[in-house]
């Protein structure tokens, strides 16, 4: 691990940057879609239980007991057998969004159950229709109250993006592996890449802390 090796990483920084960009892209896209998906899923499970709602809930429970990679396998390797052929990027985006949506739904449902019943009644009394009530009154509180749990979920999603390298997507971990395979510089390549993952996680945590302060400011402190 001499200066030469580090220079090699520097010379190939465009490859690392490309991988970094792909990782951040997947992470950001999946976070947004999974979060919106989670919100919608919880809305679909609002109200009196029905067969559909119960099945949806069980389906999400099952999804959360699977490793992310097996979901990815299902979409990328499994579906072609029934005639649905997705390219690696599409399969990756869908798998990551769907999988993490099930976790966001669970987190938000936990916050939803903890909300006082009186709020719903007062919202109804003010003439809110149920969807408006959900996204104007309930959702903001659910989101702000679950703040601390989002931290682990976001970092979990970031880490799951590395599985995408297994279905040939050139993201950050693939970039490190590429560099070490071509130039035989495993140490510097992986140290740089792990440092980058770490930086993303620090940024995410900082962002959540700001959100926590905002929540406190609005009187919706955690727990």
């Amino acid at each position: 691990m001499n200066l030469q090796d580090w220079l090699t990483v520097w010379i190939n920084i465009d490859r690392v940057a490309l991988g970094f960009g792909v990782t951040v892209l997947f992470f950001a896209f999946a976070t947004v879609t999974a979060f919106i998906g989670g919100c919608i899923l919880v809305y679909l499970m609002e109200g009196r239980p029905s067969f559909l709602k119960t099945s949806l809930r069980s389906g999400l429970d099952v999804l959360r007991t699977l490793p992310f990679l097996i979901v990815l396998y299902l979409l990328y390797y499994g579906l072609p057998q029934v005639g649905i052929r997705l390219n690696a990027w599409t399969a990756g985006m869908i798998a990551l969004s769907l999988y993490h949506a099930s976790y966001y739904a669970e987190i938000l449902r936990g916050a939803r159950v903890a909300l006082p019943q009186g709020q719903i009644e007062s919202a109804k009394a003010h003439g809110f229709t149920s969807f408006r009530m959900y996204y104007r009154i309930l959702l903001p509180q659910m989101v702000l109250r679950s703040g601390p749990l989002f931290g682990n979920q976001l970092v979990g999603c970031l880490k799951d993006t590395a599985f995408l390298s297994i279905i040939t997507i050139f993201e950050l971990t693939a970039a490190a592996n590429d560099l070490q395979a071509v130039y035989f510089i495993p140490m510097p390549a992986f140290i740089v890449v792990i440092a980058l993952y770490w930086c993303i996680s620090l940024v995410v945590e900082q962002a959540l802390r700001s959100m926590g302060r905002y929540a406190k400011h609005r009187g919706l402190s955690y727990e």
Binding site: I70, P186, S201, L202
Partner: protein
């Protein structure tokens, strides 16, 4: 899927189970050690452990497994691939378990510690007889949750060439040309394994709550 495919699948499940099992056991013990060390607030060591935990929390399992796998040949000794897999899983889960143990240490009832001291216990006896048994129960829900996360990230060990429950589906498909059945069967086995742990977590939760009463 025929019998041979099922047997192959179970072989994969077994690889997942024993590699994860060893790592879980090592990680629980090592995590406790790290937590106690961090609690001792020894200047350099405590800073080092802080960064270890912070960095490992952000490092994907695939990346960690690959990192160890490609750097291992530079060591002067030959290392088996299963050791690399166990090492990666253990390094990862130890960081998370250390946080669980540390919070159990930090929140341990001061009053019970006083009752133990007043009864003439030394710190060693108190740790072994009063604190550890209770911390095992209060930490169990968190530890079991971490076990499920470990198993969910365990498919990363395929990077060292081990055919775990996920990777083995590729091998079966290579023979049968039908990818869906083995993947679904593997999913069902994961549901069984992790579902059992989730159930255990609920039971553990109940006992932990009783202790707090």
């Amino acid at each position: 899927m025929d019998w041979n495919a099922w047997i192959t699948l179970f072989e994969g499940a077994w690889v997942t189970l024993w590699i994860s099992g060893i790592s879980i056991a090592l990680g629980i013990v090592a995590g406790f050690g790290v937590a106690v060390l961090r609690n001792a607030r020894i200047p350099v060591i405590s800073k080092f452990l802080y960064y270890y935990i912070s960095i490992i929390r952000a490092t994907p399992m695939v990346t960690l497994v690959l990192f160890l796998f490609v750097t291992a040949p530079y060591l002067p000794i030959d290392i088996d691939r299963w050791i690399i897999a166990v090492a990666a899983l253990t390094i990862n889960t130890t960081a998370f378990n250390a946080e669980i143990w540390r919070s159990a240490l930090a929140t341990f009832s001061r009053e019970q510690v006083e009752a133990a001291k007043a009864a003439g216990m030394t710190r060693r006896v108190m740790l072994r007889r009063i604190m550890l048994p209770q911390m095992m129960i209060t930490s169990l829900p968190g530890l079991v949750n971490e076990m499920t996360l470990l198993i969910k990230s365990s498919p990363a060990i395929a990077m060292v060439g081990l055919a775990d429950l996920t990777r083995i589906t590729n091998r079966i498909t290579a023979v049968t040309y039908e990818p869906l059945p083995p993947i679904l069967a593997a999913a069902a086995l994961y549901i069984l394994m992790i579902g059992a742990l989730v159930r255990l977590q609920r039971v553990a939760d109940k006992y932990a709550r009783r202790l707090a009463m």
